[in-house]
Symmetry: D2
Subunit: 341 residues, 4 copies
């Protein structure tokens, strides 16, 4: 069997580990051949391919990013996208496709499958917000990087008696904020699931200052104040009319400094959370996902996605898997609240 | 309520995170008071205590080890151990005990509970070999440290065209070897669950050398050769009568060098796997265990242990929890075998 | 002898290592007593003190920040600042002062010394821009943190075929940019010493893209374009009037994206460069500075600062030490230029 | 000009950074061509070569080991070694040789130069024991790895009230022990330069235990007891006749446990100190060495070696450079002794 592999969406530590596991097991155990598609759905749409065999996957296990490249190309952006992909795969002699990606990539895979394409999915979201799986690879790496940053920022906060606001990834779900905030000993954690009250945040901060220590606030990039109108143009400009707003982290630091009268600084971790070598946890999970994905192809179990449940890798229908986002439940947030202030 | 806390057995990254979570939640949410017992069961046996409040647990979240100290003291080593502990707790006004430890510590806790002591357990084993929980804290840290070491050793192996044998922890279960071997891209992984065939190991090594790369063998300290008689006194001494055996890692390196005629070196990771700051995963898991343990105390759910199932923290009877060891199942080992050679 | 110790200016990994070495050697070898002054010059100005002995410095060697706290308080902001400090020291029975800080802190120390205060200085600048010493502690830590971030960003840049701009510290000198750019394999390094030509930067970027790899630009926060008028209000606002400017890093990413027509992203490392545990290099250098500073006090060699020359710790007059900033010489920048493009 | 490059001796983080800098600058600035020789002197002796150009050195900066391979082959082991190398270089059209290595590799280079070979050297020793240069690359990485291990071991020592002995590299010079011991806060540091007194070591250990903390002993692999006869066969075997000796670290732990009556454990760091990604310091130093080595070739300054003096890269005669080993001076050891006990 000849199997195509592609990676779509934002990059994520562990993608290469999936690719390697797919190719190593497919080649050795099932005698498959592989073809790499470049840059997500752009690959099969435009016949952008690369060789993919045991030689190509040597040494990539510890490397971040994806040797296949990635993009956010949507195959259904043009009417004939699905047809072109089917035609191209037929022409290239590709019998099946393994699509590694997030909501968008797997959504397209589900649609292609419903149109008859033999496809198997591997879930990827650094934000850990896919409902069908306990965890996704990349998340653990992002949480560790954020936690190390928070560890470092504690000492600088305390030496200067200032608040440090750390903005982490998480547009729609606060998992990275929750886990890195818990692991880093944050004094406030703000997530997109729950609009925050700035007065309450400042109370936690004052409480922390009274303990002789300095506050760390971890905020997901998608968090918003309960009083959304508070983010006004006035907040965005200082008294000299200079620009002061980057994102929610900077806005929060400015607002806290203004209300508490004590220095506050923002640090926006950004892309360092998603690059570089994966943690052991992510390497193992990504490797297992890859092994089980190629098993699903062998079983011709099309339209399925691999997923983690407890310590087992299971299969779930692609359509179901991308149906809804997994947000932080109230009970999990309440666990963290014990440490606020 | 006045709650005693103790940590027993080998140290493990995350112990302090448990203690901190117990004290922070108990104090803030339930109004509990806490008393620290020193050095595991020695504490309540000998009335060795230390103050334990919010002040004592500040800043300990990222620190390895345990501020309470640990020991392998067995309260039932003397006939009256159980009675002395009950008397001492009564005298100190301690209403309940949270025991954090592995098989031995929790086994004693189960026995004390059966004799009427109000006790709640928190599982701790760096080897991840307790059956009642998906994972234990400390394991992820150990696996990451071993994986980083393996990453480093790959380049040294290849520069010198030699085999490197890495001995990791795991006396009775091969979880650390399995996960770090998978994550580190090992060419052979040897675990206690499955006696290994030295000839087969050497075949994998030769296969690897043919690929122009150099082999890494990850071996759990408890792994044994299928032909146990092979570890003879002769192997232990070289032709000058000099000592050459440290443990299974050194024996394996010597045996591989002898059989393949190519240089082999052993690295024994030892205690660096169990010391130092916990990973984010372990800090979160340990913190959640602590929070749920103090909830169990509040519920007077004596004789229970907290455990991880999927992403949930649940309670399981102490007696059941320590009943049998969790070893690496054949299916999990087979996943890794795909990468051998 | 009773010796006061203070730390001033921005925090820096290694400050605690200096304090520990001063106290350990002074106590053990010279029989000194110590008094900690809080928050830089605010301490002696306002009699804000804390106990400082062997107990207080236990365990602080690997910790970032400063247990004494810091501030940018200038003792000469009020006319009688110098006199108040001398009076307070006399009242507290403090015979000598060790001032650990950068240009401002040591400038004040030099002035106080010229007015008769027995003071010894320890240089501290994370930017490595003090002329009198080969290196200062904190710099190596900052360079390592920036290098690790660059390592991580390479894979994300390549997976998405985009430029990543990394903004590092360095307002007046480009040492962190130079060293982390060299160590991280940056394709362009921009420093404050040399205004950059945006067209040239974009040429290097296009050259890099032609090689199938993706460009990393490392820019010091104080770097400026040769055509300074290019940073106009128009650049700061996008076509919707939304704010887009954070600092030079964001401006550069926006400008590169506009000119090359290819995605570019900025990452601003900020305070994570100056917090957290010091590298071994910084711990050793800071420790040696502390040991030699207390020797200088013992020798009553007032008005001197310790400094690194080759592998030796020497003494230089405070006045001379703070006279001029050490910038990146053209020859060192030229070394890095070999790797541009 | 066509330049051969080889790496000899034990591997060392930074070797690839040297190779990359040599090739990048030689190609871009001087228009040189390069040829890689495999496995140290074996390459030119046996005409074992590999292509070496800008493509081959892409991405190797952060990688440990050496893409050229290494060996301890001595070209003068056979009478005609020098002649064969000269013949082979002539046949391959190689005009000059850059030899990267330690005492042995550079010693051979010096001899070949004296016989007329146009050769330039780059010093490499992880032990930092070459007299002609302030530092060599690889050393900083080794010290950081050892320091991180010591950081981790502190908590495990304290939790169990035991002594931990950490054996680090350093057969003839104690630089790694000195620096990692200072940086890690060791309570005793033992180096090859100064035979140690076991009674004195045990006194420091007892002193440390009295402070409620636990001792860490850092010992270089080449350290020896002052009473050498103390290492007897009896010490090597326990009362059951079981083997107990690995190296000095294990012997020391056993001896300490026996004398103090308190548990002691040994950790032997071994090869993890020399593998893996170099620190930023080592990458910068190695890169600068490479740049300056190719300059020396361009200048036809044969028989020279690059070296670090302060912050400058200079050239020194190969013959002189390898003349004597650089050991830890008494004054540097005395700095560390302040922290013993």
């Amino acid at each position: 069997m000849r199997i195509g592999v592609l990676t779509g969406g934002g990059d994520c530590p562990g993608l290469n580990a999936v690719i390697r596991a797919v190719v190593r097991k497919g080649t050795k155990v099932y005698g498959n051949e592989f073809l790499g598609f470049r840059d997500g759905w752009r690959g099969p749409l435009e016949n952008a391919t690369m060789p993919l065999g045991v030689e190509q996957v040597r040494g990539i296990l510890p490397r971040g990013g994806t040797i296949l490249g990635s993009s956010r190309t949507n195959p259904y952006a043009t009417d004939d996208g699905g047809q072109r992909i089917r035609d191209n795969l037929a022409e290239l002699g590709v019998d099946a496709l393994i699509a590694i990606g997030g909501e968008d990539t797997l959504g397209a895979a589900a649609k292609l499958h419903s149109e008859g394409l033999p496809v198997v999915g591997v879930p990827k979201t650094i934000d850990n917000d896919l409902g069908a799986t306990d965890y996704t690879f990349g998340f653990d790496t992002a949480v560790n990087i954020a936690t190390e940053a928070i560890d470092r920022l504690h000492t600088t906060a305390e030496s200067h008696h200032r608040t440090v606001v750390v903005e982490v990834m998480g547009r729609h779900a606060g998992w990275i904020a929750l886990h890195s905030g818990l692991a880093g000993g944050a004094n406030v954690i703000l997530t997109p699931e729950r609009p925050f009250d700035l007065d309450q945040v400042c109370e936690y901060i004052e409480e922390r200052f009274r303990s002789q220590y300095s506050p760390i606030v971890v905020v997901a990039e998608g968090a918003v104040p309960a009083q959304a109108h508070e983010v006004t143009q006035t907040d965005r400009l200082d008294s000299f009319g200079h620009v002061r707003l980057g994102g929610i982290g900077q806005w929060l630091a400015d607002s806290i400094e203004q209300r508490t009268g004590k220095e506050a600084r923002a640090v926006v971790l950004g892309h360092i959370q998603r690059g570089g070598t994966p943690t052991a946890y992510d390497r193992v999970l990504a490797t297992r996902f890859g092994l089980h994905a190629v098993d699903a192809v062998h079983d011709k179990d099309w339209g399925q996605m691999v997923a983690l449940r407890g310590t087992d890798i299971v299969r779930v229908p692609l359509a179901e898997a991308t149906a809804k986002i997994k947000t932080v439940p109230a009970a999990r947030y309440a666990e963290a609240e014990v440490f606020f202030g």
